[in-house]
């Protein structure tokens, strides 16, 4: 791995995204003249027109950025490098992670185009914030020192705080934005505290240096260095656990997921979670074994992951709001992912399992939320189980998509969720954590109940209100749903390519 100061070839995608942000900003600044220039003949309202324009502009931008990522791979020959004085890693397997996050962004965009108009959300603000958040996530997974890590984490989170509150006329949305902001600030405090402890203990902010000096026998037990090192790691973990919503740092999740615009919820639940997990993997499950600290981390991670799985899956049972149910399900899934690293084997296999699960989770959660968005009509929300009653009659396609999503979330073959769960449980079994594995498995049976319940409601209940309203411009949503569904099934039957990709991504963390 070469160390460079700066080479634009490695950061083409990020630079492209930054350029897109500039373009979007300027396009919004001059939206009035542009509107008058192009909208001579269409009958759309100004908001709807602008939303659609902005959507297309962002979409084209994202596709170009994706192309740039692929081109970067060609340009750099798939060799990773470390840039900007140990600040960023770039290239190599990391590109896979970046592409996955970008694809999550593209899917979010497809789900948003119509939704923003329904909710009267000003589109370009929304897409701009999405771009910022994406840029943050892309930087986050590449961060090589703690300052960059913190910067990227905030760059990813702050736009999301704003996006959660974008349904400005909906008090729930405001409430959830404030909640997320305050608790997010709180968790950032933990994160910074952890970073400063680590700096104090090791005198460095470069992640790899910190990890090396924390590993035994570099560090001796029963010295203040070791104590603050351990505390630093723990606080760092708390800060990140908030982002991936492990119990008991999860409490914001259901409220925020419910209050936010559904595409944002989808984005939060996949992109934020995946990139935060990439960071967790990098710090806690990387190649550096912490020796004595490992036993702390095994206990802590195992404990939090297990109660997360138990709590998430249990509470999801009694939810009547599908978005809340999916929030608890996302908590539970975070628990499963954390379980895979709980044995602290520091092997690439554990990281691979988590990343595989995370990538598969992108597809399935996007699909589940996509169906909810598809069924949302003007003045008619589709959020509760009652809203889903008898949906299969009128919208068999959407119901089939939901079936695929639920099967995958529940981990039923041949969906990708099944392969993911197997990977996770293999980690536990290989580490001889049988009791943990059995408990987690039991709770994934509990999970079956609420996933299947959605299907029962859709297929076997009579619709109680008239849900026959057709709506236009569903094409982007369909594209997103079809792509996710295809991925779920395809990767479930043919997991090998995705396993290879996660392996590549995982190996760059080491």
């Amino acid at each position: 791995m070469s160390e460079l100061f700066f080479d634009p070839a490695f950061l083409l995608g990020e630079l492209g995204l930054a350029a897109l942000i500039v373009v979007l900003t300027l396009a919004d600044a001059f939206r009035k003249p542009l509107y008058q220039l192009f909208n001579g003949t269409t009958q759309l309202s100004e908001l709807e027109y602008r939303n659609r324009q902005a959507g297309w502009l962002t979409g084209i931008g994202f596709v170009i950025v994706a192309a740039l990522f692929i081109y970067t791979n060609k340009l750099t020959g798939g060799e990773p490098a470390i840039l900007l004085h140990n600040s960023l890693k770039a290239g190599g397997g990391l590109l896979i992670g970046k592409l996955v996050i970008l694809i999550a962004g593209i899917l979010t965009l497809l789900l948003s185009i119509r939704y923003t108009s329904i909710e009267s959300i000003p589109g370009i603000d929304y897409y701009l914030l999405l771009c910022f958040s994406l840029l943050g996530a892309l930087t986050l997974i590449a961060a090589e020192n703690f300052i960059m890590l913190f910067l990227a984490l905030e760059m990813m989170s702050i736009p999301i705080y704003a996006m959660v509150g974008l349904k400005r006329y909906n008090p729930r949305s405001d409430e959830s934005a404030i909640k997320y902001l305050l608790l997010g600030g709180f968790s950032s405090g933990f994160l910074l505290l952890g970073i400063s402890f680590l700096y104090g203990a090791t005198g460095s902010l470069v992640i790899s240096d910190v990890l090396t000096s924390l590993s035994f026998p570099t560090i001796e037990l029963a010295t203040p260095q070791a104590l603050f090192g351990a505390l630093g790691l723990i606080f760092l973990f708390i800060g990140l656990a908030f982002k991936v919503s492990l119990v008991p740092f999860h409490a914001w999740t259901p409220d925020v997921y419910e209050g936010a615009a559904t595409p944002i919820t989808a984005f939060m639940s996949v992109a934020v979670k995946l990139s935060a997990f990439a960071v967790i993997l990098k710090i806690f499950a990387g190649s550096t074994s912490f020796g004595g600290f490992d036993s702390i981390l095994v206990g802590m991670l195992g404990f939090f992951a297990l109660i997360t799985v138990m709590y998430g899956n249990s509470v999801a049972i009694v939810q009547t709001n599908v978005k809340r149910m999916l929030a608890y399900s996302s908590i539970a899934h975070a628990g499963y992912m954390a379980l895979a690293i709980a044995p602290m084997t520091h092997t690439v296999d554990a990281a691979k399992a988590v990343l595989f699960y995370g990538i598969g989770y992108v597809a399935m959660n996007m699909l589940a939320f996509g169906v909810l968005i598809y069924l949302t009509r003007q003045n008619h929300y589709c959020e509760t189980l009652d809203d889903l009653k008898g949906v299969a009659r009128k919208f068999p396609g959407a119901a089939a998509m939901m079936t695929i999503a639920m099967f995958s979330l529940a981990g039923i073959p041949p969906a990708v969720g099944f392969v993911g769960k197997i990977q996770i449980f293999m980690q536990l079994i290989n580490a001889h954590m049988y009791i943990t594995a059995v408990i987690a498995l039991l709770f994934s049976f509990v999970a079956l109940y609420f996933y299947i319940n959605v299907l029962v409601v859709m297929y076997m209940k009579e619709p109680d209100t008239d849900k026959t309203i057709e709506s236009s411009h569903q094409f982007p949503v369909w594209v997103a749903m079809a792509a996710s569904a295809l991925l779920i099934i395809l990767l479930g039957i043919l997991p090998t390519p995705l396993l290879n990709w996660s392996q590549q991504w995982a190996s760059i963390l080491f």
């Binding site: 723990i234 939090f304 049972i317 089939a400």
Partner: protein, 646 residues
């Protein structure tokens, strides 16, 4: 790659038609109708056929087998499964028969299903069936084969119950499925036994293992082979599991032709041939196969004599002919079994499609007592039906003469053969000729015995139905010529089929024929011809000049009553298997185990767990202070873990 495409094309057809079925049903409007659906379905299968021909005659011409791996399916412990397709000379024969006959029948279906409201669904099922069948044929490992094996069973169920609104048809579908499942259980057991002993499930490994050095004891080898054969009896409708096939005639006629005559039911025969390495190592199992085949051939032939439903006659005839194939396999003549499988596919498909044409012309009437004299009204159907009948009866030089004669000769002369079985087979052949000509005479000769209404509507079927009939009639005529025995070859006509399959079926052990003089061989051949002629003669004497109405089956006495009621086997099964099981299920499993025990535990735990969850969800106060407090508690807990080492 090509093999992958062959298998995939019908799946694409099935999926696209399936999706359209769902959309059509939901939207109430047609995305595409039966025309497009038919063309897509036919096109997919025909393309498969074309590629198969290319593969077999070009690619396979100079090699023994082609194996193409699509991808690794799963790796669990020591079991590594990959989706690998293998084309060797055995599967090549089967592949051509299946894709070829399927193409013809898909084409026929376009005309047959015209006007049915769920025709798109029909084509979707039909394509799905072809997909599953191809999986079965080309799969190179037992699990893959089993997927196809179950898949064809499923499609058979779906298609028998295609008109599920008619309860009788739905029940027939269910019966077929359940009986098949019993057989599948045997297959699965065999598979487990093999895996437990060998640790590999690819066909080549299995055959090689049993051929080379059976580490298994003689007893277990035979048990394994018999388990597999039980699977075959289910799928191929042999004693004791043959009962589903006659009922399966409830499905649309092209389905009977395709699935229940030409292809699916022969899967059992194919499977036995596939695993001939195993069967040759299990002489007891070979005897079981031989005897079951012979008995099935004989009994179902006797039943066929007194059936009045045109399709039922053909169904029992199918069971009987499948018995012949198993006789061949049991005698170790696997090539001949495949030969008869192929010729049977041609003439039985032709007969079924012909019967479909007759039923179509008769406005749905299936009882031959009310037919007669159709010869002049439906000339194309008549001629093709007659050709196929002559073929099945075994007149030279039609197809079945060669294959059936070869079977009987092998049973007579093979080291696994048996003279008593030969006699049974010969009598069955006699019955075959008799009931087939009975069918022809009652249907096409004499005077019309149906209602005036039916007579008024009587018409020849459209071109889409008669053209496939002609194709199949031609094939029934010349199909046997690729397997002309040495004796009749006049020294220069090659026995193409035997030559082709020679290496593939003798790879894992030769079967020796006892030496007999040419005169005996000629004599037996002459006897075959004589049997066919005798069958025809008796049928003509009894039924050719029949006048007036035929007797009601209720008045049947003695042996005819026994045969008409199919030896009361169905009733027997009902009494000794189904009813006791039913009462056991309702009284013990449903009322006690399920309702009290399982539901009690499940519902109890679900509701009590719901209460716990309710309690947990109380934590979600919506109050941001309490959320912050949880985080503090969590942080305190996390920090507490430090005591592990400090």
């Amino acid at each position: 790659m090509e093999l992958f495409i062959i298998v995939l094309l019908p799946l694409i057809g099935a999926v696209s038609n399936g999706i359209v079925t769902v959309i059509n049903a939901a939207r109430g409007k047609q995305v595409w109708g039966e025309k497009t659906a038919g063309v897509i379905a036919f096109g997919a299968v025909a393309a498969s056929f074309v590629i198969s021909v290319y593969m077999v005659f070009v690619k396979l011409a100079h090699s023994e087998a082609i194996s193409q791996t699509a991808y690794q399916w799963m790796a669990v412990g020591g079991l590594k499964l990959s989706i690998t397709f293998m084309l060797d000379h055995i599967s090549a024969v089967m592949l051509l028969v299946v894709t070829g006959v399927s193409s013809v029948i898909h084409f026929y279906s376009i005309g047959y299903i015209h006007g049915d409201e769920s025709s798109v669904r029909y084509f979707s099922y039909l394509n799905l069936f072809v997909f599953a069948m191809l999986l079965l044929i080309l799969g190179d490992s037992m699990p893959l084969m089993f997927v196809g094996w179950e898949g064809v069973g499923l499609c058979s169920y779906l298609l028998i119950g295609f008109w599920y609104k008619d309860e009788e048809k739905a029940i027939a579908g269910k019966k077929a499925f359940i009986v098949n499942r019993i057989g599948d259980f045997g297959f699965l057991l065999g598979m487990f036994l093999i895996f437990a002993n060998i640790g590999s499930l690819t066909i080549a490994d299995v055959n090689h293992y049993f051929h080379a050095n059976p580490g298994m004891t003689f007893f277990w080898i035979n048990v394994t082979a018999i388990c597999l054969f039980i699977g075959a009896t289910g799928k191929s409708a042999q004693i004791p599991l043959y009962v589903w096939l006659p009922d399966a005639m409830a499905g649309p006629t092209p389905v009977s032709a395709l699935i229940h005559a030409a292809t699916m039911v022969t899967a059992g025969v194919y499977m036995v041939c596939r695993f001939h390495g195993l069967f040759l190592a299990a002489p007891i199992a070979m005897h079981v196969v031989l005897w079951i085949g012979a008995l099935t051939a004989f009994f179902s032939a006797t039943i066929a004599i007194f059936q009045n439903d045109i399709k039922k006659v053909l169904a029992y005839s199918t069971v009987s002919q499948l018995g012949f194939m198993f006789m061949a396999a049991g005698a170790g003549a696997f090539a001949i079994a495949l030969f008869h499988l192929m010729t049977h596919a041609f003439f039985k498909a032709c007969l079924f499609l012909g019967s479909g044409s007759v039923i179509h012309g008769m406005s749905g009437e299936q009882d031959i007592r009310f037919m007669g004299g159709l010869k002049s009204k439906m000339p194309h159907t008549y001629w093709t039906f007659l050709v196929a009948t002559i073929a099945i009866a075994g007149f030279p030089p039609f197809a079945a003469f060669f294959s059936k004669d070869e079977i009987l000769w092998n049973v007579f002369a093979s080291e696994y053969g048996n003279k008593i079985v030969w006699v049974i087979g010969a009598i069955a052949a006699l019955f075959t000729a008799f009931y087939m000509f009975r069918l022809v005479y009652l249907t096409f000769f004499g005077e019309f015995r149906g209602t005036h209404e039916q007579e008024h509507h009587l018409h020849e079927s459209p071109k889409t139905m008669t053209v496939p009939l002609m194709i199949l009639a031609v094939l029934s005529t010349i199909g046997g010529w690729i397997g002309i025995p040495k004796l009749l070859s006049l020294g220069f006509i090659p026995n193409v089929l035997e030559h082709y399959l020679e290496h593939a079926v003798s790879k894992y052990g030769e079967v020796h024929l006892h030496h007999y003089s040419h005169s005996i061989e000629y004599g037996l051949m002459g006897l075959s011809v004589a049997i066919a002629i005798a069958g025809w003669f008796f049928a003509k004497r009894k039924y050719a000049a029949i006048k007036g109405q035929l007797p009601d089956p209720a008045t049947y006495k003695g042996i005819s009553k026994l045969l008409y009621n199919k030896y009361w086997i169905d009733e027997l099964y009902m009494k000794i298997v189904v009813n006791p099981l039913k009462s056991l299920s309702t009284n013990v499993f449903l009322n006690i185990t399920d309702k009290r025990l399982i539901d009690g535990v499940a519902n109890g735990s679900a509701s009590s767990w719901g209460r716990v969850a309710m309690m947990f969800s109380k934590l979600q106060t919506g109050n941001i202070q309490s959320y912050g407090f949880y985080m503090i508690v969590g942080a305190a807990l996390a920090v507490a873990f430090i005591w592990i080492i400090f």
